[in-house]
């Protein structure tokens, strides 16, 4: 008896007006020996020692935490000051990115919420809201806001840069090239060039990408640590496109020297290590980042590669996390869900369906790769024909994707 029908039976009536999501006893279908209960994860308890550390939080002594506090105090005193709100929202977004914590996107959204209700909202607020939506992979909404903002302020470099990123993630490379040019024109030369450098690595020009980005990295000793980390991360990625593993690794390590907690860089480096057959190092790298869902997926993949006896428990916990995300209405882990279905649940058919859905949203090299992997595993090369056409058109070079695409193309011909 499922829980909802049980409830109906108990109450004689369905829940009124409630948005029903999931049945709570999802775990009951699993082997009881490996059930780790969903939240709450253990029974509530009373700590026994005063010194027991219950939770880590950003320390108040951190310069960026102090800056956020100062701006927050200033905004509380002058809530109508858009400039302070803009600075605080940016500080939250930047800090959230640096420590890999999505809460700060929510805090930023709250800061600009009052302005977003105006008709029309200030352009600054619209652009920041678009950044936050993009952060949550609500790409269509983000794009609509950026277009509105740019219609009113065509010189807004932040809007162009955000649009460039969006176009790159969605594989709209000619549009991204124009966006990058607008960033150069209205914002900064360095950033515009970095934008183009990044773009080239998706167009079969990874060698040029490395040259451009190396020059920026060398020319920019005075730029912020997060900018340098970003450029180093792009260099790592471009070197991966070229199959230059030692260079790629050196750049990942360098980028993590600048921003050691950056979630994006950590999982990208973990993926690199998984591909290189070094799962043990993934466990060391991500030991302190189990809270991050994307990092946790790489931990589970590493456990699988190590044939860990604990693997079923890890897979269960990962499934519970996806379920929790679904329960809260978040659906932006498409790429991770495909890898989970394919490599951990060994369900290529579901993986292919998830990959098809993900492909409608994002088309970065990783999205392309897992699509092809899923089509290959499901023995459905014909499902990949659009993706293979995209690959031919963009000329993306990648030593892992190319052989996979070649095999699928050969199967397509023989069928």
């Amino acid at each position: 008896m499922d829980a909802i029908s049980a409830l109906r039976r108990a109450s004689g009536r369905a829940l009124l007006g409630a948005v029903l999501f999931a049945v709570v006893q999802a775990a009951s279908a699993l082997d009881s020996s490996m059930v780790s209960p969903p939240a709450p994860y253990r029974a509530p308890y009373l700590p026994t020692s005063d010194a027991e550390v219950l939770q880590q939080v950003p320390p108040a002594s951190d310069a960026k935490v102090r800056e956020m506090k100062t701006l927050r105090t200033a905004l509380d005193k002058a809530p109508a000051d858009l400039r302070t709100a803009d600075l605080l929202a940016r500080a939250y977004i930047g800090f959230g990115r640096e420590v890999g914590d999505a809460h700060y996107a929510g805090y930023a959204e709250a800061v600009i919420a009052a302005w977003m209700t105006r008709q029309p909202p200030p352009v600054e607020a619209q652009v920041l809201q678009a950044v936050i939506l993009q952060f949550r992979h609500q790409f269509a909404d983000a794009r609509a806001l950026l277009e509105k903002a740019l219609a009113r302020d065509p010189r807004n470099a932040q809007a162009w840069l955000t649009l460039a990123t969006l176009d790159m993630v969605q594989g709209r490379y000619p549009a991204a090239r124009d966006d990058c040019a607008q960033v150069t024109r209205h914002g900064s030369y360095v950033l515009g060039i970095a934008c183009v450098g990044n773009l080239r690595s998706y167009l079969g020009e990874a060698r040029q990408s490395v040259v451009i980005l190396t020059q920026i990295a060398g020319d920019a000793p005075r730029l912020s640590a997060s900018f340098k980390a970003w450029v180093e991360g792009l260099l790592a990625e471009a070197n991966e496109r070229l199959g230059d593993w030692p260079q790629a690794e050196a750049h990942y390590r360098k980028s993590l020297e600048y921003t050691p907690h950056d979630n994006f860089l950590l999982v990208a480096y973990a993926d690199f290590l998984l591909d290189r057959g070094r799962p043990q190092e993934v466990l060391t790298l991500l030991a302190d980042y189990r809270q991050s869902d994307t990092a946790f997926l790489r931990i589970v993949l590493a456990q699988a590669a190590l044939h860990s006896a604990d693997l079923p428990r890890y897979v269960f916990l990962m499934a519970a996390r996806f379920e929790a995300l679904r329960a809260r209405g978040s659906d932006y882990y498409g790429r991770e869900q495909v890898r989970f279905a394919l490599h951990l649940q060994h369900d290529p058919q579901s993986a292919l369906e998830l990959a098809q859905r993900n492909w409608e949203v994002q088309r970065a090299p990783w999205d392309l790769r897992i699509f092809l992997e899923a089509a290959d595993a499901a023995r459905k090369p014909q499902a990949a024909s659009d993706v293979l056409a995209f690959l031919s058109q963009t000329k993306l070079q990648d030593p892992i994707i190319e052989p996979l695409a070649k095999r699928l193309r050969a199967e397509l011909v023989t069928r």
Binding site: A3, I4, R9, A10, S11, L15, L16, A18, V19, L20, F21, V23, V24, P40, Y41, R42, L46, A51, V53, L54, Q56, V57, P59, S61, I93, G96, A102, H103, A105, G106, Y107, E109, A110, V131, Q134, F135, R136, A157, Q158, L161, T162, A164, T165, L191, A220, S226, F227, D262, N263, F264, V267, Q291, D293, L317, A320, A324, A327, R328, G329, E336
Partner: protein, 177 residues
């Protein structure tokens, strides 16, 4: 000129990376109401048992639980603030039935570890006068400071349970116990 460009680059940077970040899960709290003992009161009033799990990191953002600012919330720092936590949280939870508002009676607090960190666990009773046909729950915790917060609501009744989601767009839920 160079300085201005550098400042521009630094100021603009967040956007480009932010989109690529797959971060920690956003803020969730778990509210459970249990009507199993709804008929337990002699007066015939409705009594519900409640449990509310709220992340310490979210509470720290509004209440600064880390008193010495060293980045660790210890039990010694949390315990004296439990009254503040209750004062804050219960302000954002309203429960009513057809005859009027119900009374929320805090019982005690504990701690629990979830996948994404430690949570304060608030136990409470809800007393409503009369036997209610429907109960309205209004949940607004953290919405003003973080519109992406979600209240994951579990309602248990007899052998059954169902869940619903509180969000700024849907802060009120009606149910029949």
């Amino acid at each position: 000129m160079t300085a201005r460009l550098i400042a521009a680059a630094a100021g603009l940077l967040a956007a480009l990376i932010a989109t690529l970040v797959f971060a920690h899960s956003a803020s969730d709290a778990y509210l459970t109401l249990d009507s199993m003992k709804a008929s337990a009161t002699m007066s015939g009033d409705t009594l519900l048992h409640g449990q509310w799990d709220i992340a310490l990191r979210d509470l720290d953002f509004v209440l600064s639980l880390d008193a010495n600012g060293d980045g660790d919330i210890t039990w010694a720092e949390l315990r004296p603030r439990q009254g503040d936590i209750a004062d804050y949280a219960y302000r954002y939870l309203r429960i009513a039935n057809g005859t009027g508002p119900c009374t929320i009676r805090p019982i005690r607090q504990m701690v629990d570890d979830h996948a994404d960190g430690a949570y304060a666990v608030l136990f409470f009773d809800v007393a409503c006068s009369g036997r209610a046909k429907k109960i309205t729950i209004d949940y607004r915790l953290f919405f003003a400071i973080d519109p992406s917060h979600r209240g994951i609501f579990v309602f248990r009744s007899g052998a059954g349970a169902a869940t619903a989601l509180f969000s700024p767009e849907k802060a009120t839920i009606e149910l029949s116990p």
